[in-house]
Amino acid sequence: MPPEPVSLMIPDAWLPPLVVLSSFLPGIAIFFLNEARVRLRVTLNLAGALAKLALIGVMLWGVMHEHEYVFRHAVLPGVELVLKADALALLFVSLSAVLWLFTTLYAIGYLENAPNRSRFFGFFSVCVTATVGVAMAGNLFTFFLFYELLTLSTYPLVVHRGTPQAMRAGHLYLGYTLAGGALLLVGTIWLYGLAGQVDFVPGGSLAALPAETAGQLRLVFALLIAGVGVKAALVPLHGWLPQAMVAPAPVSALLHAVAVVKAGAFGIVRVVYEVYGIEFAQSLDLLTPLAVVAAITIIWGSLRALSQDDLKKRLAYSTVSQVSYIALGVALFGPVGTIGGVVHLVHQGIMKITLFFCAGNFAETLGLHKVSELDGVGRRMPWSAAAFTIGAFGMIGAPPTAGFISKWYLGLGALEAHMPWVLAVLAVSTLLNAAYFLPILHRLWFRPAPASWPHEHIPARAGWETSRLLLLPPVATAAATLAVGVFAASSLSPLDWAKLIAAREYLRWVP
C-alpha cells in the first residue's frame, strides 16, 4: 500500500491533465488581456509556471513512492488520449517547467514595452503546454497531437516581429515541421494498423509482432524518426533551425532548450525505447543507421558553426550538433550509452539556454550581434560573460560542467556497444566545439573593449550590468550547469534519474 500522496484532494489521474492546463488556461486568459494590463499578465504567467512546478513536485514524489499517474480519454474508437507521468516523462517535464520559469522571467524583462505582448505570452504559454503534453504523452497518437500543437504555437513566436526576415524564417519552419508531422502521422497510423494502440512502455511492445512484419516495421521506424528528426534537426532535416534564430531571444531559448528541438529528441527516445524497445530495435538493425545519422549531424553542425559570425547563428549550428548527442546516446546499444543520451537531454537544455540568454543580453544591452563585435565585453558585462563562459565550457565538455558528464557516459557507452568509431566522433566534435567557442571567450575576456558600444540600450546602473530580469536567469542556469556536474553523484541529480530510466529500459539485459 503506497503512502497517501501529498495532494489529498486530487485523484492521481487528474494530475497530468492539470499540469497541461496549468499553462494552457493562463495562456488563454492572457490572449484576451489588454496590452496595458502588465501586472495581471505577469501574475498569470508566474502563477501558471509556479503551479506547474508544484504539481510536478507532487508527481516526482509520487513516482518515487510507486504512484501511477495515468489519464485516459477515448477520442475515437480504439484511439485514446493518454497522459502519463512516468520516469522519462518527468525528466523532460521537470526540465521544461524549470527552464520555462526562467524563460518567462527573462521574456518579461526582454519584452518590456514591446508591442503585442499579450499575443506573445499567450502563444508562449500554449507552446509550453504542448511541450509538457509531448513529455507526458502515453502513446503515439497523444504524442503526435501535442507535437503538432507545438508547431502551431511556435510559429507566431518565430514571426512575432513581423519583419520580412522573420516571415521567411517562419515559412521555412512551417514547411519543414508540417512535412515532418505528415511523415510522423503516416508512420503512426501505419503502426496502429499493424499493432493496434500501443502505449509507451519501458522495453517497448512491438517485439511480439509476427516476424514477417519486420520489413514494414523498418519502414515505419524510418517514417517516425524522420518525422521527429525534423524538430531534432537531424541532418539533412535541420535547415529551419539556423534561420529561426531571427526570433526574439526568449523564443530562441524555447526553440533550442525548452521545447522544440527537445520534443524531437525526446520523440527519438520514446520511439526507440518505448515503442520498439532497444533490444528489438537492435535486432531489426535500426540502431547503427541512427548512430551514423547522429554522428554526421554532430560533425556537420560543428563544422558549420565554425564559419558563422552571427553569434545566434553560431549557437544555432551548435544546437544542431549537440542535440544529436542525445540521438547518438540512444543509438548506442547498452545502458551506459542510454544514460549519456538521456541525461544530455537535460544537460544540453541547461547549457544552451544559458548561452542564448547571454547572447540576448549582449544584443539587448550593447547592441552586439556578431562574434567579431564581442571584444572586451567581459569587463563591461562580467556576469553575463562569466555565465556564457560556463555554458561554453559545458558545450566543449570540460569538467566539472554538465557537458563533461554527458560526454563521459557517451564515450563509455560507445566502448560498451563496441562502436569505437563513436569515440573518434566525440573527440573530433570536442575539438570543433573548442574551435568555435574558445575564440569567443578570448574576445570576451582578453581583447580590449572598443571606445564605445554600437547601441548601448541599457546603461550600467547601481552595480547591475543590465536589467535584473535579463541577468538573473542566465546566472542561475550557469550555476545549474556547474551544479548538475559537480553533484552528479547525488541522488537528486539528472544523472541519477537517467540511471533509473536506463535500468527500466534494459529489463532483460545482461552486460
Partner: protein, 484 residues
C-alpha cells in the same frame, strides 16, 4: 422507442423553420432576425432531444398526420440523419447571430435573408428525414431554390450571374436524379426506400444500374465534385458571408448525404469497386486542384470557396475506402467521411464568418491587404486560424479525427495511393491557410483604416471554430450516434 404520448420532435424540426420563415417574410425586408434566432435555438434543442431519443431507442419512422405510406408521407430518422440534423442546428444558430451583425454593417443582399434562410433550414431537415426517393427529390429542389435565391440576393450583375450558374447546375443535378428515380419506379413500382431496397437486392433490373449512374452524376454535380465544381466558387465566394457559410457548410452536405445513404443502402448490391475508385479519383482531383487554386487566389472569399472544393474531395474518398474492403476498413471509412462532413461544416462556417469579419474590418476582399488584422481584430484572425487547423487536418480537431479514420481505412485496405493524396492535401491546405495568416501579422499600411468588428460576429464565428476543435476531442459521442 418513445410512447405515443411522448413528445415527438420529428415533424417540428421541419415545421418550426417554415413557421418563422413565413413570419419573417410577412414582417417585410430585413426583418425577422430575432424570430429566426429564437427559432433556431429551439431547433437546436429539438435536434438534441431527437439525438438522445435515437441514441436510446434506435432508428424509427414517423407517419406524418398518422397516415403512413403509401398514402401519406413517412419521415425516417436514424443515427446518420440525427447527426445531420444536429449539424444543421449547431451551424445555423451561430450563423444567424452572426448574420444579424453582418447585415447591419453591410445591408446589401440582406433584405430577404431571413425568410430564405428559414426555408433553407426547413428543406435541409426535410431532406435528412425523407423516407422515400420522391420526397428526397422534392426537398432537394426546395433546397436548391432557397440556395439560389440567397446567392442572387445581392442583385448585382455578378451575383445574378453566379446565381444563374448555380441554378443551372442544381436543376441539372436534380433532373438527373429524378430521371434515375423514374427508372427505378418503372422497374420496381415504388419510391419507398424500405420497399425498394430488398427488391433491388433480390433482382437488380438493368434500369437500376442506369439509375445508379444518374443519381451519382446528379449528386456529384450538386455537391460540386471536381470537375463539376465550376459553379461553386462564384456562388460561395460572391455571396454575403453568412450565406457563403450556410452554402458551404450545410447545403453541399445534403446532396452528399443523399448519395452516401443510397450508396450504402439501396444501391449497395449494385456498386462496383471501379465505380468507387472513379469517385475517389475525382475526390483526389478535387483535393489537389481545389487546393492549388485556393493557393493562387487573390480574394479572400474565393480562397475559402476553393478550399471547399478541395474539402469536398475528402468526402468522396469515403467511397473507394468503404467499397469492396474488409468490414473494419469500411466502418472506419464511413466514420471518417461523416466526421469530415461534420467538422468541415463547423470549420467552413467559422472560416467564412472570419473572412466576413476581416472584410468588414478592412473594407475590402483582398488577401494582400490584410495588414493590421492581427493587432485590431485578433479574435477574428484566431477564428480563421482555428478553422484552418481543422481544414489542414491537424490535431486536435474534427478534421484530424476524420483524416485519421480515412488514413486508417486506406492503410487497412492497402490503398496507399489515397494516403499520399490526403497527406499532400493537408500540406496544401496548410499552405493556403498560412497564406492568409501571414498577411495579417504585419502592421496596416499607412492610410489603411482597420475597423472593429461587432462582438456578436466575432464570438459566433469563434464558437463555430471551437466547435470544430472540440469535435476532435469528443468525437466518440457522434460516432456512437452514427452507429445506431
Amino acid at each position: 422507442m418513445p410512447t405515443p404520448e411522448a413528445f415527438d420532435p420529428l415533424p417540428w424540426l421541419i415545421l418550426l423553420p417554415l413557421a418563422w420563415a413565413t413570419a419573417a417574410f410577412a414582417l417585410g425586408p430585413g426583418r425577422g432576425a430575432r424570430l429566426a434566432i429564437a427559432g433556431l435555438a429551439a431547433q437546436l434543442a429539438l435536434a438534441l432531444i431527437l439525438a438522445g431519443q435515437v441514441l436510446a431507442g434506435g432508428a424509427r419512422a414517423h407517419a406524418v398526420g398518422g397516415w403512413g405510406a403509401p398514402l401519406g408521407i413517412d419521415l425516417m430518422v436514424d443515427g446518420l440523419a440525427a447527426l445531420m440534423l444536429l449539424m444543421t442546428a449547431v451551424v445555423a444558430l451561430p450563423i444567424a447571430i452572426y448574420a444579424r451583425g453582418y447585415f447591419r454593417a453591410r445591408p446589401k443582399g440582406g433584405e430577404w435573408f431571413w425568410p430564405l434562410a428559414g426555408f433553407l433550414v426547413a428543406a435541409l431537415d426535410a431532406l435528412f428525414l425523407a423516407a422515400d426517393l420522391f420526397n428526397l427529390y422534392v426537398t432537394l429542389e426546395l433546397l436548391g431554390l432557397a440556395a439560389v435565391g440567397l446567392t442572387a440576393a445581392a442583385g448585382d450583375r455578378a451575383a445574378v450571374a453566379a446565381g444563374l450558374r448555380y441554378l443551372l447546375a442544381t436543376l441539372l443535378g436534380s433532373g438527373a436524379y429524378l430521371l434515375g428515380v423514374a427508372l427505378l419506379y418503372g422497374a420496381h413500382g415504388s419510391v419507398s426506400l424500405t420497399v425498394l431496397a430488398p427488391a433491388v437486392a433480390a433482382d437488380p433490373a438493368p434500369a437500376a444500374a442506369l439509375a445508379l449512374a444518374l443519381v451519382v452524376a446528379g449528386m456529384a454535380l450538386k455537391t460540386a465534385l471536381f470537375p463539376f465544381h465550376f459553379w461553386l466558387p462564384p456562388a460561395h465566394g460572391g455571396a454575403a458571408s453568412p450565406v457563403s457559410a450556410l452554402l458551404s457548410a450545410l447545403v453541399i452536405k445534403a446532396s452528399f448525404y443523399l448519395l452516401l445513404r443510397l450508396w450504402l443502402d439501396l444501391f449497395a448490391p449494385l456498386v462496383s469497386v471501379s465505380a468507387a475508385q472513379l469517385l475517389g479519383l475525382l475526390g483526389a482531383g478535387a483535393i489537389l486542384w481545389g487546393s492549388a487554386l485556393a493557393l493562387v487566389q487573390t480574394r479572400l472569399k474565393m480562397l475559402v470557396a476553393y478550399s471547399t472544393v478541395a474539402q469536398i474531395g475528402y468526402l468522396f474518398l469515403l467511397f473507394p475506402l468503404a467499397t469492396g474492403v474488409s468490414a473494419t476498413a469500411a466502418e472506419a471509412a464511413v466514420q471518417g467521411g461523416v466526421m469530415q462532413a461534420l467538422s468541415h461544416a463547423l470549420a467552413k462556417a467559422a472560416m467564412f464568418a472570419a473572412a466576413g469579419g476581416m472584410i468588414v474590418a478592412v473594407g475590402r476582399d483582398d488577401i494582400a491587404r490584410l495588414g493590421g488584422i492581427a493587432g485590431r481584430v485578433p479574435l477574428t484572425l484566431f477564428t480563421f486560424g482555428l478553422a484552418g487547423v481543422t481544414l489542414m487536418g491537424l490535431p486536435p480537431s474534427g478534421g484530424f479525427s476524420a483524416k485519421w479514420l480515412l488514413l486508417m481505412a486506406a492503410l487497412e485496405s492497402g490503398q496507399w495511393w489515397w494516403v499520399v493524396v490526403m497527406v499532400v492535401g493537408g500540406l496544401l491546405a496548410a499552405a493556403y491557410v498560412f497564406k492568409v495568416l501571414r498577411q495579417a501579422f504585419p502592421p496596416a499600411e499607412p492610410g489603411d483604416l482597420v475597423h472593429r468588428v461587432p462582438r456578436a460576429m466575432e464570438w459566433s464565428g469563434f464558437a463555430l471554430a471551437v466547435g470544430g476543435i472540440l469535435l476532435g476531442l469528443f468525437g466518440a459521442g457522434p460516432l456512437a450516434l452514427l452507429a445506431v
